[in-house]
Structures are given as structure tokens and as C-alpha cells.
């Protein structure tokens, strides 16, 4: 009520208003147009501002219904968001692993110490090689004994079965260049002393391939759930329209256009989407927070500085935009079907 400034009521219809028309009197005509264009624009904006708040008030007056619908929207938006977070984190993990791409060179088991030393010198002088680490047969055996727990078994063997190994770290620009790495591997394989060469990048390729699948999966799940959000919001709006049928009839009788009738419902749809988006973001943030502790401990075990990434501010904006758009479209679908069918009888 306080939208309307309290003023002295104008004396009504004391004179024939079609007679003396004062300048302030809005223009009258059979086809409407009683309000000036600027005034129309102003009241249009005002009515939008009013709707912005009044639809929120209406939603707040039915908190359970609002929360339920928004939560369903939140879950539907949150699921693909969680998958997205997972994929992004694995990619991040992948890109970290890439920087430790290494080539393992197994020498022939009967290589002499002198030949090995010469081989190491040759390796270091290689332009594509950054660092070289030598693991002697004895070191390999000790390491294996500690890590595998098969120490007793090894003791039973007459001879050390493990070959001498070089761990080769290629120079930085090789890290992402699979072809160049393959060339280096082939070159190493061609050397006389070398028994076998392993490029520890294969699993990276597999991870990348899996991440592409994960991404696609998140996207398709997202699309399916977006359709779900449309249906949920559409149905909620349909019920809202039904419950306000009397009001719609009266508004149409006094000259309300379909657009006027539509507007509050479209706003309501947008609000459901926005609230759902915020809730989805909160759900994902809580989830990420919840598992970040264990992940940090796991990373510690791997001596990694890996840190779990959440959705962040950008994610919130995207969720809000997606939620609002789906809310608007869902509401529009419901409104388009139901409002024109409600006519005064």
C-alpha cells in the first residue's frame, strides 16, 4: 500500500470529463493510449521493479513449496556440476603428472660397469635430455625388496634378476609433445646397450581419453537434467497459474493483456532457477569441502601438491545464468499453454 502516496482524493466525475480537458488529464480515446509514451515506459519499468519484489514475497510466503522446488532444481543442476568439478580436477591432476613425464631405459642385464658409465655420459650430452637418474641393479633390488615385500623370495634366487635402469627426464618442451617423445624413445631403443624403453605417457593418454568420455557424460547428463528442470519448473508454474485462475480472469476482464498476466509467472520461474542455482553451488561447495581433507591426505602420501578445486565464483555465475534461463524457459512453456486458455466466461 505504501507504494501509493497518500494524497487528497480527486473529486470524481463532478464535471463531464469529456468537456473541459485539463492538460494533466490523460488523453482519452476508444483505442486506449491514455498514458503518454514516456509515462508508459516509466510505469512499465516500475511494474517490473514491483514484480521483482512481489514475486519474491509470494515465494517467501510459501517457504516449503519454494524450497522443495528449488531443491529439486538444485540437485538437477548440482549433479552435472559435481561431474564437471571431478573432470576439471582430474585434468588438473593430469597436467601435473605430465610435467613428470619420464622415460625408463632398461639396459641389458650383463652390461659392464664401464659401458654403463659411458652410456650415462652419452645420455647427458643428448640435447633432448634434461636429467638422468641411474639406478644400479643393487639399488633396484633393495628398492624392490622394501616396496614389494617379496624380500624372502628374492633371497631364494641365486642371482639378481633386475637390470640396471636409467630414468630419463626429457627437456620441458617434450612434455606435451608425444611425437617428439616417441622419436627420442626410438633413438634410445636403437642404442647397443639398451634392452627396452618405456615411455610413461601411455597412461596419460588413457586418462585423457577417459576425461573426454567423462566430459561428454557430464554434458549429456546435464542436458537430460536441464530438461528435467524445465519440466519441474513448468509444472510448478502450471499449478501456480491454476491457483490464481480467478485473479487472471478478473485481470483480463479489466483489460490486462496476456503479457501482463504472464509476467509474474515468468519472474517466479526465474526465481526458482536462481534459488536452485545458488543451492546447487552451495551443495557442490559443501561436497568439495567435505572430501578435500581426505584428498589432501592422499596427495600428501603421493608427495603431491595437488589441491581440490571447487566451482568458484565463475561457477556460481554460470549456475545462476543456467538456472535463470531454464526457469524462464520452463515458466514460458507453462504460461504459453495455460494462460491464453483462461478467459472470462
Amino acid at each position: 500500500m505504501n507504494r501509493y502516496r497518500r494524497g487528497k482524493p480527486e473529486k470524481m466525475m463532478v464535471s463531464n470529463s469529456r468537456g473541459g480537458k485539463s492538460a494533466k488529464e490523460p488523453r482519452r480515446g476508444a483505442s486506449g493510449g491514455r498514458v503518454s509514451l514516456l509515462g508508459k515506459l516509466r510505469s512499465y519499468l516500475q511494474s517490473h521493479r514491483h514484480l521483482f519484489f512481489s514475486t519474491v514475497k509470494r515465494l517467501a510466503s510459501e517457504p516449503i513449496q519454494t524450497l522443495m522446488t528449488s531443491l529439486v532444481v538444485a540437485i538437477a543442476l548440482g549433479l552435472p556440476a559435481v561431474l564437471y568439478v571431478g573432470v576439471v580436477n582430474l585434468q588438473q591432476l593430469g597436467s601435473r603428472v605430465e610435467t613428470t613425464t619420464q622415460i625408463t631405459v632398461f639396459l641389458k642385464i650383463d652390461s659392464s660397469q664401464k659401458a654403463i658409465e659411458q652410456f650415462q655420459k652419452n645420455l647427458i650430452s643428448e640435447a633432448d635430455v634434461d636429467t638422468v637418474e641411474y639406478i644400479s641393479r643393487q639399488q633396484a633390488l633393495e628398492e624392490f625388496r622394501i616396496l614389494s615385500g617379496f624380500g624372502d623370495v628374492l633371497d631364494m634366487l641365486d642371482e639378481n634378476p633386475l637390470p640396471p635402469v636409467f630414468i630419463v627426464q626429457p627437456v620441458a618442451h617434450f612434455q606435451r609433445d608425444l611425437v617428439a617423445s616417441e622419436v627420442l624413445v626410438a633413438k634410445l631403443k636403437g642404442m647397443a646397450l639398451v634392452d627396452d624403453v618405456q615411455l610413461d605417457m601411455k597412461w596419460m593418454q588413457r586418462l585423457q581419453a577417459m576425461l573426454v568420455i567423462g566430459e561428454r557424460f557430464a554434458l549429456s547428463l546435464g542436458l537430460a537434467l536441464a530438461l528435467g528442470v524445465l519440466l519441474i519448473i513448468g509444472n510448478t508454474i502450471r499449478l501456480a497459474i491454476e491457483s490464481r485462475r480467478d485473479e487472471i480472469v478478473v485481470v483480463k476482464l479489466v483489460g490486462g493483456t496476456n503479457a501482463y498476466v504472464r509476467r509474474p509467472f515468468l519472474y517466479t520461474g526465474i526465481w526458482y532457477g536462481v534459488i536452485g542455482g545458488i543451492l546447487a553451488w552451495v551443495l557442490v561447495a559443501v561436497g568439495v569441502q567435505w572430501i578435500s581433507g581426505p584428498v589432501a591426505r592422499l596427495a600428501e602420501l603421493y608427495q603431491s601438491l595437488f589441491e581440490l578445486m571447487g566451482l568458484g565464483f565463475f561457477g556460481l555465475i554460470v549456475l545462476l545464468l543456467i538456472g535463470a534461463s531454464l526457469g524462464l524457459i520452463g515458466a514460458w512453456l507453462a504460461v504459453a499453454r495455460h494462460i491464453s486458455s483462461i478467459e472470462p466466461k
Binding site: 487528497k8 485481470v251 479489466v254 483489460g255
Partner: protein
């Protein structure tokens, strides 16, 4: 102002509500529509409101042929008409003030202008002190007056009423009719469907009597 030219209306059910009806109402004129229920009074009003379209014939309102009015133009057309219903069609989820304000809000009036006009209309029907009340708390007569306030708040050129005194006692009915006459006196064209012949015969106004969708009598009774 309102001109029916051989208008017929047949409902999809086959019911012939109006049958080649012709009549004319001048601007600023007031007339009563009488006849038994089912004679076509409500249909006639609905045609003017464009809640229904005629099956045959022409209907001109303020020089405009309603047959040529596109669906999307109907809301703007309706803003020139005020309607009062027997069952008021008031909304009980808002105050008396907000009920009356509705026609102004849908037409895009400024809030300041809305407040001024709504209070003027409420003052006119004697409900200014009840603007904050919910219509459900008002008496039958007050509800009807509130409905009238809503019908006239945007200063329509035509005022229609369908059985506006249907549920009211004679004294209140006379009060309501007097209100309508006051609007007529300031130039509004008023058309009222009623069966309250006793009441209106004392008013000395033009009466249009319908029977089975035809106009059988037209004029001021002696």
C-alpha cells in the same frame, strides 16, 4: 455509442441466445435490460465485453466494428468499459484498495496517479474509510459498491452491470441504482441487466425487454 445490427449468437451447444437483435444506445444514455433468465441479457453484455463473439450481425461500439477487432486488441478495448457483476468478482487475497487499483495497474498508470484515482473512486461509493480492509470483511452492499468503484476507477465511457442488485435488499438496491444514475449524469453510457422491475420502473429510464433473444419492447414505460 453501442449499436447492435441484426446480431445473432448461437452457442456451440446449439442454444440460440440472441436472434437478429438490433438496438442502439447513445452516448451518455442509461438503459435497463430486462427479461426472464435465459432471454439473452447476459449474452448481450458479454458480446459488448467481447467475452463472446456474435455468430451473425454487426456490433459497433464507439464507432468501432467489434468483428474487426483482433484478439490482441481486446484488452485495450476493454479498458474503455467498466463492468459490475452480480457476484462482484472481487479478489479476496488483497485489500479493497488493491482490488480497485487493478484496472489502473493493468493499464500502466503511475503509482501516484493510482492512489489518487482509487481513493476518488472509493470516496464516490462511500468506502474511503475501508480501503485497507479485505473485501471478504465487507457486507454484501459494500462489496457491490466496491465492485462499482473498480468498474469506474479508470473513468470508462461505458458502464455495464449484470444483475448488480441481485442479492441486495430493496433499500441497498435503490442506493446502487442511484450510483449508476450519477455516473450517467456525467456522461457515461450505462447499461444494466436486471430483473428488479419494481425498482427500475420508478426511475423513469429506458427499458429494453428481451424475450428468447429478441427485443420485444423498447422505451420509457408510462
Amino acid at each position: 455509442m453501442i449499436q447492435f445490427d441484426k446480431v445473432s449468437k448461437r452457442y456451440p451447444t446449439g442454444h440460440e441466445a440472441l436472434n437478429g437483435l438490433s438496438l442502439e444506445l447513445d452516448a451518455g444514455e442509461m438503459a435497463f435490460l430486462i427479461g426472464h433468465s435465459g432471454a439473452g441479457k447476459s449474452t448481450l453484455l458479454k458480446l459488448i465485453m467481447l467475452m463472446e463473439r456474435p455468430t451473425h450481425g454487426q456490433l459497433l461500439v464507439n464507432g468501432k466494428n467489434l468483428n474487426r477487432l483482433h484478439r490482441s486488441q481486446i484488452p485495450y478495448y476493454r479498458r474503455n468499459i467498466g463492468v459490475v457483476f452480480q457476484n462482484h468478482q472481487l479478489l479476496f487475497d488483497r485489500s479493497a484498495f488493491d482490488n480497485v487499483a487493478l484496472p489502473l495497474l493493468v493499464s500502466g498508470y503511475q503509482p501516484r496517479e493510482v492512489g489518487r484515482r482509487v481513493r476518488a473512486a472509493l470516496d464516490k461509493v462511500g468506502l474511503l474509510d475501508k480501503e485497507k480492509m479485505n473485501p471478504i470483511a465487507l457486507s454484501g452492499g459494500e462489496q457491490q459498491r466496491l465492485g462499482i468503484a473498480r468498474a469506474v476507477v479508470h473513468k470508462p465511457r461505458i458502464l455495464l452491470a449484470d444483475e448488480p442488485t441481485g442479492n441486495l435488499d430493496p433499500e441497498l438496491s435503490a442506493e446502487i441504482m442511484d450510483l449508476f444514475r450519477q455516473f450517467c449524469e456525467v456522461g457515461v453510457t450505462v447499461l444494466i441487466a436486471t430483473h428488479d422491475v419494481d425498482l427500475i420502473s420508478r426511475m423513469g429510464m429506458r427499458q429494453l425487454q428481451l424475450q428468447q433473444g429478441r427485443l420485444i419492447q423498447d422505451g420509457v414505460p408510462a
